[in-house]
Amino acid sequence: MNDIAISISSDQDIVIARQRGRELAAKLGFSSTEQIAIATAISELSRNIVEYAKRGEVILSLTPSQGNGRGSLQITARDRGPGIPDVALAMRDGYSTSRSLGLGLPGTRRLMDEFEIVSKPGKGTTVTIRKWI
């Protein structure tokens, strides 16, 4: 499969990205629960791009099977925005107390099997998430 790249710069793009993600997940045989988890995760990551970096892209790709015999659907969300000054803080879960929803990163991690984030202040942020097939 070729990678699917979706450029993100408006709230419309968020809808497109998560729809494409769900379609691909369905094609790969993910259960409906997994499809919706994937679509929701894509929505959150795209939203962060629009909100904090104005523009960026979401790339959907397939990783070959790993040691556990399972490949994965990989979603990379990257931007050249301001970056996150304190990644550890952004990854802290505050949903039970806080009314503001933060970046939604801890929640996004819970929706997926793997989660990686690289962010450099002033350079941008790349979040990579995977769901095992």
Partner: protein
């Protein structure tokens, strides 16, 4: 069989034919011709070694013969085409057939390695007078043979893992029954250890049950859950919240004093959860919420009145 399809899709991504030099091509062609010509003899030889090594003992002689023939032909075909696609498909089908018979991983790996040795010995017999050529033949043969052994072994292990995953899923499904006791009232008795995966499955099943039965009230009984840590507690909170999102109310019953203390200590927000001491009390409360009026029949009334 969605899981199997997925495994197949993933496995074929690594199976493209390997590039080969022209010299290797020529040698392999000759080798293939030799193996085809000596098919009957080498196959017999191989099967004898399988029996001697006490492999595939759970299969009949005829079955071993049939599978050995198929593996042999596939083997030669891989040498010829350089592509393991057909072998891969065969290895999976074979695994599917023989795993329920109790064939072990070491047996499958064992027979493939035996075949590799039988063929290598035959090649030695053919080329022993020309040692240089023999080396060239081995250079072509060995990587291909190793790749074949690898393909078959991986195919077998993947198939086994698939079966194990499927069984795990089946067991989990059995262990979380969502029961309808009255119209619009579901009970979910949870028994045993709850880990993240089970909690997920349990929630999914309950949510589907709520929608399918148009449930308004759910009683989750955790009397049978031995311990509750902060993770389990959070799952419980999530399950309750997700049920509410669908429009159903949840009553949790069977919280032991230890568990109640744990929940308070780890700061779980119990205000969001409606709790009742035991399952019976939970069902009564649920019936009240649903507007059922449970009245005692005449015979038991006197004892009730005397109790007042």
């Amino acid at each position: 069989m969605a899981i199997k399809e997925k495994v197949r899709g993933a496995a074929t991504t690594t199976s493209a034919a390997e590039p080969r030099s022209e010299g290797t091509q020529v040698v392999l062609r000759e080798l293939v011709a030799h193996l085809r010509a000596s098919r009957t003899e080498l196959r017999e030889n191989w099967i004898r070694k399988i029996v001697e090594a006490r492999l595939l003992t759970s299969m009949t002689k005829e079955e071993v013969f049939a599978e050995a023939t198929a593996v042999y032909d596939n083997y030669v075909e891989v040498l010829e085409s350089g592509s393991v696609d057909a072998l891969q498909a065969y290895a999976r089908d074979l695994s599917e057939r023989i795993i329920p018979r109790g064939v072990e991983t070491h047996e499958v790996v064992g027979i493939v390695l035996l075949l590799r040795d039988v063929l290598a010995r035959s090649l030695f017999g053919k080329y022993k007078q020309d040692y240089a050529l023999y080396n060239v033949v081995l250079d072509a043969y060995e990587p291909a043979a190793n790749r074949i052994a690898n393909t078959v072994a991986v195919g077998f292990v993947q198939e086994r893992e698939r079966i194990i995953r499927q069984q795990q899923e089946a067991i989990r499904e059995l262990s979380t029954p969502v029961l309808q006791v009255r119209e619009r009232l579901l009970i979910l008795p949870i028994i045993g250890v709850v880990d993240a995966q089970r909690a997920r499955q349990l929630t999914e099943q309950l949510l589907r049950g709520i929608r399918g039965n148009r449930a308004k009230v759910v009683v989750i009984d955790i009397t049978g859950v031995p311990s509750v840590d902060s993770k389990v507690a959070n799952h419980l909170v999530q399950t309750v919240e997700a049920s509410r999102l669908l429009g159903a109310m949840v009553i949790v019953t069977g919280l032991s004093s230890e568990i109640a203390q744990t929940l308070v200590t780890i700061g779980v927000d119990l205000a969001k959860m409606k709790t009742v001491g035991d399952l019976q009390g939970g069902i009564e409360e649920a019936e009240r919420l649903l507007g059922y009026k449970v009245t005692q029949v005449a015979e038991t009334r006197p004892t009730l009145e005397s109790a007042k």
